[in-house]
């Protein structure tokens, strides 16, 4: 009986959906992110930035109205997949973007790029598989491949002559990529390594005791969002901050700093975008965002902003006619838009070629915690997997 109803609904949705697609006068962009639970702050930042991008575009691209449809993945791969299917099947969106989490993206990928032949632009997650063998003509990234940011951090530490590092990350797709990434460039001693249960482990007591005993020169961690807040807090509570330098990727940022406060002061991280990058697009984005929300945007937001701008550039070039997907893909590939990170072009696997910077957690003139650029770690970086991608 249950299936009977389900079937009827599906048929009805297909019938109405098909007629809807013919008379489409708007550019529909589905946006998957986390809008509930402890990681909701990230989703909020992305949503605000995507909306700001639409505002900056005057609500239009290529003569058509832009419509954003937000869906909450609840930080769960299965829910993310379900919501992605809803966006492509029911809402018939032209693009799907967003995606904070690598495991959510990997679960949702096929439903969007293959089954629905719809273009997916990841505004954050960049699992190594998609940069390499799973690369797809319908997949684009306005962020990075997971390995790259830690590679930049590792390169910097290698150049600085850091002798030993202790590595920690959550035990899931991105965590493994991150630790593999730092190992690619950091050639000193790895004093220890822990992959902790993800996402439910928020207590790091056992691992912190191991770090204390291993006496490394530095600790490298990948704990995005709420996990980063807890890690930094417990790291300081354990009295380790004075003895061991904390290096991180995605763990101290505009999302986590309001809660980490001065505990994070002086910690270094790597990123492809920082709020103080001196290009015009970025100055406008950061200034307007701060004016509107009285908060610094994060790279999550910057990437979401870029993903909307990228879509708009393709729609503009095609005068709003998105029916021919080959032409849409070709226009996207040109990356003919002003990225807030400055230089931006697509590699063969549709991941960006871009710079990575080292940033430090500091207080701004008003005493608010933020990050500022202190060095360029790698210029025009390509990810380490693109040669495995069959697309040329």
């Amino acid at each position: 009986m249950k299936y009977g109803i389900l079937g009827a609904v599906t048929i009805a949705a297909m019938a109405f959906g098909a007629s809807g697609a013919l008379a489409q006068s708007t550019i529909k962009i589905g946006f998957i992110s986390t809008f509930s639970g402890p990681q909701a702050a990230i989703g909020q930042d992305m949503r605000r930035s995507a909306e700001l991008a639409v505002e900056h575009l005057g609500g239009m691209a290529g003569g058509k109205k832009i419509e954003l449809i937000f869906e909450d993945d609840q930080f769960k791969p299965d829910v993310g997949k379900q919501k992605s299917e809803k966006l492509v099947q029911q809402d018939k969106v032209n693009f799907v973007t967003g995606y904070i989490w690598s495991n959510v993206l990997l679960a949702s990928l096929k439903a969007v790029t293959d089954e629905a032949d719809t273009i997916l632009i990841s505004a954050n997650a960049g699992p190594s598989q998609i940069a390499g063998e799973l690369c797809h003509k319908n997949f684009f990234s306005t962020s990075w491949n997971n390995d790259q940011t830690p590679m930049a951090m590792g390169q910097y530490l290698q150049d600085r002559g850091v002798k030993s590092l202790y590595l920690m990350a959550g035990n899931y797709a991105a965590g493994k990529d991150m630790l593999a990434g730092v190992r690619r460039t950091f050639k000193g001693q790895v004093a220890g390594e822990d992959l902790t249960k993800w996402p439910d482990q928020l207590d790091f007591s056992a691992e912190l005791a191991k770090i204390r005993a291993a006496k490394p020169e530095g600790v490298f961690v990948f704990y995005p969002g709420a996990h980063g807040v807890q890690f930094v807090r417990q790291f300081v509570q354990a009295g380790l901050k004075d003895q061991i330098k904390l290096y991180q990727v995605f763990s101290i940022d505009a999302i986590t700093l309001p809660q980490q406060g001065e505990l994070a002061l002086g910690s270094l991280g790597a990123q492809q975008w920082v709020n103080d990058l001196p290009n015009d697009a970025n100055k406008r984005y950061v200034a307007d965002f701060r004016k509107k929300h009285n908060d610094y945007p994060s790279y999550y937001g910057a990437q979401a902003y870029d993903s909307i701008m990228l879509i708009a550039s393709a729609a503009e070039a095609l005068k709003g006619d998105l029916a021919n997907k080959d032409r849409v893909r070709a226009e996207l590939k040109k990356a003919n838009f002003k990225s807030v990170r400055g230089g931006f072009s697509f590699n063969t696997n549709n991941f960006p070629i871009q710079n990575f910077y080292i940033q430090e957690a500091v207080k701004d003139a008003d005493g608010k915690m933020t990050v500022k650029t202190i060095a360029t770690a790698i210029s025009k970086a390509k990810d380490p997997h693109f040669e495995k991608c069959p697309m040329k």
Partner: protein, 304 residues
Amino acid sequence: MDYLAIQILNGVQLGLLMFLLAAGLTLTFGIMDLVNLAHGSLYMMGAYFAWTLIGWTDSFVLGALLTLPAALALGAVVEAVVIRRLYARDHLDQVLATFGLILFFNELVRVIWGPAGKSIALPAFLSGTVEILPGLPYPAYRFAIIVVGGVVALLLAWMVQRTRTGMLIRAGASNRRMIGALGVDINLLFTLVFGLGAVFAALAGLMAAPILSVKIGMGDDILILAFVIIVIGGIGSIKGAFIAAMVVGQIDIFGRAFLPDLLKTFLSNAAASTAAPAISQVLIYLVMAGVLVWRPTGLFGPRT
């Protein structure tokens, strides 16, 4: 040696936190014959109450202390409104109804406190380290959890073993019908036990909050572990819950602290660092399975 001591303390701290949660669960299951899936919700409500009350009073200690009567009141209301209707029903009905309570509380929290989760900052005197032995620093807050958890465990042991109420609770655990027949007000006893369980759950929630952050569904993850503990310890036995919680705490820390190095002695580095997190996650369940084979009713469960 220092390293070992720290890790054992970490295990004790984790174990005590789990014990507080499991104590209420084992009492309601053992004495009231009630499967209460919503026990984790009481843990969550404890954390949210603490967040609010600490904000109002601007004092961590005062806010934490006020959370306990608030939790008792909540427990009594939940018992009177919902739980009381479930005693005569079978376990499946109880599971369904208390699962409904989980959904209700998660949604309630979303409406009142919003979806984003909260964090409780520690006062200065708890955010540093204490030297438990010369040259051996330990986080002050974790040490405070051990002290509070230990004291509460002792109080509970004293109450169950030495007081008349405790005698009735023990009697209720071994033969519920008989104490009813002896003229004890079962309803009152049940409300008391349920309220007590709520207070312990809330205490665990509020103590875990500064370490684990306050979020919707925080009790759902940990509830499974609490059930593992009461099954290992034997349903209805406070002593069993305590010992099982200590064992589970130590196993969890062992899996995280020592297993990777142990595996590296006979596996390659890469294989060991992949296998260790996977094995340490199932270790607790393996222990539970082992105990159940050896003693089907748990370590201190009722013998049939």
